[in-house]
């Protein structure tokens, strides 16, 4: 609808280590016009004893969709069920992908700020968390890359913007590395069963492309650090 | 044998032991405090009822799940949503400071309630206090554990005339531990046999004892096919 082909991603840009002085890991992801900042702190001593698990790390995620993120300014209630649901889903996704038993008795605290939102909330947030966790040097089994895909007039469409999301049926997936394993899958409106496979297929392909772009950024940043560390 | 409910009166001989369900009031009369079947003989009196919540009392045989270790004691859960009880690391045969039993979180133990005073933590032990030997207590390895009603567990453990176990042994060989906290642990050589036996035991609690053999047969029928 915005001049892209059906299997084309929106502009995807990401940066890691955006807040080197204030966090263990940080990232900034732009997926189309959606912009997300993610800050990771930890693994660290938990703020309260009750949160402690003797066998693995405890994950805390907070998601802040800023009032100015949408075209019409609106203040969102933090306890909105939809936001809480997303948080729970993200938590369960990353609990599986972080090697949590390497960090017993610690907390990993993740904060995401959505600065502008133009569709793909879950995917932009998921990607930003993956990058920030990698930046923090937290052990993970693999990348989790996320993208949405919709369905319009018998054609699957990749990576929807807000307008498309409002009108079309779509799903959001979180995919593990280069595999076809889905860590996260959320579909909220009707898609014919027989079309599901096609939509899923382009989503998986799109997810892999996003993984590659994130990987490139991680490597770029890594090279930069290494070239500086050559001075050690 | 008669059905009794709180408010009824009970006539007792002068010297009997009071079991669960009856208490002695201040003016030395005995009253029932639970509804159930009154069982009395010349030595003791108690009310047999099918409660849902297990309350530990001394000398009960129980099956517990280890949920943590604190200092030199383990914390053990006897049933869901109840306070854990404690199992001292010393309460094992041949245990010493150096020779600590190796129980992980999630391990099953068969134990005896050694002290059950309502105001303080209940304690259990994995040894026979008279001999100091294991007496059949200790870590339960492998097998399957499931819940049954408290009364049924008592029947299985204390009623030698109950036919189930004798009939079950004709079908397969098994090891069994019955906890008065309504838990039964069973282990056979084969997973499917274990499951069949467990299902037979579970289903038998709903039928009269005469039906037991039918239940067992049907439970094992699918296996022979």
């Amino acid at each position: 609808m915005d001049g892209r082909r059906w299997n084309e991603l929106r502009r995807f840009q990401c940066r890691i280590n955006t807040h080197p002085n204030s966090a263990d890991g940080s990232s900034f992801v732009e997926q189309g016009n959606s912009k997300v900042v993610c800050i990771v702190e930890g693994p660290m001593e938990p703020p309260s004893r009750s949160q402690l698990s003797a066998t693995e790390a405890t994950l805390n995620i907070s998601l802040n969709v800023t009032p100015f993120s949408s075209i019409d300014r609106k203040r969102r209630n933090k306890n909105e069920r939809r936001i809480q649901e997303i948080i729970t889903s993200l938590k369960r996704t990353f609990e599986q992908s972080i090697i949590t038993d390497k960090y017993p008795r610690t907390t990993i605290s993740i904060t995401c700020h959505v600065l502008t939102l133009d569709g793909g909330l879950i995917s932009a947030v998921t990607n930003s968390i993956t990058l920030a966790l990698i930046d923090a040097g937290i052990a993970m089994y693999d990348y989790i890359s996320s993208v949405s895909a919709g369905f319009y007039d018998n054609t699957p469409l990749l990576d929807l913007n807000q307008l498309e999301e409002n009108d079309l049926s779509y799903l959001t997936i979180g995919i593990v590395g280069k595999s076809e394993k889905l860590a996260l899958l959320i579909l909220e409106n009707k898609i014919p069963l027989d079309k599901l496979e096609g939509v899923l297929a382009i989503a998986v392909a799109g997810g892999h492309r996003i993984r590659d772009m994130m990987d490139k950024e991680v490597r770029r940043h890594g090279e930069l650090r290494l070239s500086k560390l050559a001075n050690k | 044998m008669s059905i009794i409910i709180p408010g009824d009166s009970v006539q007792v001989a002068n010297s009997v032991a009071l079991g669960p369900g009856v208490v002695c009031t201040r003016n030395r009369s005995v009253i029932p405090v639970t509804a159930g079947i009154l069982e009395e003989n010349s030595k003791s009196i108690h009310v047999e009822s099918n409660g849902r919540r297990y309350v530990p009392s001394t000398n009960d045989y129980v099956i517990g799940t280890v949920t943590g270790s604190f200092g030199d004691a383990f914390r053990v859960s006897l049933s869901d949503f109840t306070f854990p009880v404690s199992l001292s690391a010393m309460a094992f045969p041949n245990a010493s400071k150096k020779n600590r039993p190796n129980l992980k979180v999630g391990s099953l133990v068969y134990a005896r309630v050694s002290s059950a005073i309502p105001e303080i933590d209940v304690e259990i032990e994995c040894l026979d206090p008279t001999t100091g030997k294991d007496g059949g207590f200790g870590l339960l390895e492998g097998g399957y554990v499931f819940d049954v009603s408290l009364a049924y567990a008592r029947t299985l453990l204390f009623n030698p005339n109950y036919p189930l176990l004798n009939q079950l042994v004709k079908k397969c060989q098994f090891e069994i531990a019955i906890g008065l906290n309504g838990k039964i642990w069973i282990k056979t050589d084969d997973l499917k046999h274990t499951l069949a036996a467990a299902n037979a035991i579970k289903q038998c609690q709903l039928v009269p004892s005469s039906e037991c053999s039918n239940v067992i047969n049907s439970a094992f029928k699918s296996l022979s096919q």
């Binding site: 990698i134 050559a230 001075n231 | -």
Partner: protein, 321 residues
């Protein structure tokens, strides 16, 4: 910027400088033992972090590009007390978990070898309390990776007479000595964990004859037998150090000029950290010299100034070879 020769000589031969990212197959050769930053399935070893592969003997590990300090036995670190507990202190050392300092692992007033008693347990806050800084050695690691510390040596213990700053731990290279005396009457402890303490060089350190050490009463008891010859210095210092004074909360007199020097050194270390230059004694000194081009220490916080001094330090080093 790139001094590739140097890098190759140092570690280029044994380290593969390529970057691996999470989920990447590092090797499918079964001879490697799997170290930190990896996970494996059968013979295949995968990376779990973004970093560089390190192969030491048979051990294969991936060193993350960034991450919290990972304590190792023998590390000389600077830490801050966060909690006083049963017979132990909890110490923030910038790692994933607070380290533990057992009451039994510190020197207490009244003789190095005396036994700890219950009175000591009750007055733990009189020795070290929340917020106190100390320098210590990692004695051992627990199974979950957290560290146990000790201060049973004269060079360790509570810190006084200076300022604290933090730098990324990756910039502090593990070496034999982490405590250095700098020109200008200032000493530095470069904790392996990236915590740094800059202080006035103590009179004791300078091995001067007995003089004005501290003015608190606790120190007085040992004052008498202090000014003896060099041979007995160690013994007297032992007693000195194990007196209450080692837990004193009072600073020495610190002159204006020393304070200024400390501030300048602090900014120099921040410059090295900002430019991501490994922090060593030589570089701190070189940076200090380069900084003298700016008369006010406050100028050293500007980005351009920091970058230019950082460049100076590196080029000067290259020039010297």
């Amino acid at each position: 910027m790139e001094d590739s020769d140097n890098a190759d000589d140092e570690d280029g031969s044994m380290q593969n400088r390529a970057i691996v990212t999470p989920g990447e197959l590092v090797t499918d050769d079964p001879v490697w033992m799997k170290g930190h930053g990896t996970y494996y399935l059968e013979n295949r070893t995968y990376s779990s972090v973004a970093g560089t592969v390190s192969r030491v003997n048979r051990l294969l590990s991936v060193i993350p590009i960034r991450g919290r300090y990972q304590p190792e036995t023998g590390d000389h670190i600077v830490g801050r007390i966060t909690e006083v507990g049963q017979k132990r202190w909890k110490v923030d050392i910038g790692a994933k978990q607070d380290a533990v300092l057992m009451l039994g692992s510190v020197n207490l007033p009244g003789g190095v070898l005396r036994r700890k008693n219950e009175a000591d347990e009750l007055q733990m806050r009189n020795f070290l309390k929340e917020g106190d800084l100390l320098n210590a050695e990692v004695q051992s690691l627990f199974q979950d990776g957290s560290a146990s510390l000790h201060t049973r040596s004269l060079k360790y213990g509570k810190l006084r007479d200076g300022v604290f700053l933090k730098v990324p731990s990756s910039l502090v290279v593990r070496s034999k000595y982490h405590s250095h005396e700098l020109p200008g009457g200032v000493s530095v402890i470069l904790g392996v964990n990236g915590y740094v303490w800059l202080r006035k060089t103590s009179d004791l350190q300078q091995q001067q004859s007995a003089s004005h050490v501290g003015k608190d009463a606790a120190a007085l008891s040992t004052r008498g037998n202090y000014s003896v010859g060099n041979a007995s210095v160690t013994i007297t210092r032992l007693e000195e150090e194990s007196s209450w004074e080692i837990y004193s909360d009072v600073n020495d007199q610190i002159s204006q000029s020393i304070r200024e020097t400390i501030t300048r050194y602090a900014n120099c270390i921040k410059i090295l950290a900002y430019c991501e230059i490994g922090i060593t004694l030589e570089r701190v000194t070189a940076c200090y010299e380069a900084s003298m081009a700016y008369d006010e220490a406050g100028k050293l916080i500007d980005r351009e100034v920091m970058e230019s001094i950082g460049d100076d330090v590196i080029t000067a080093e290259k020039y010297r070879g």
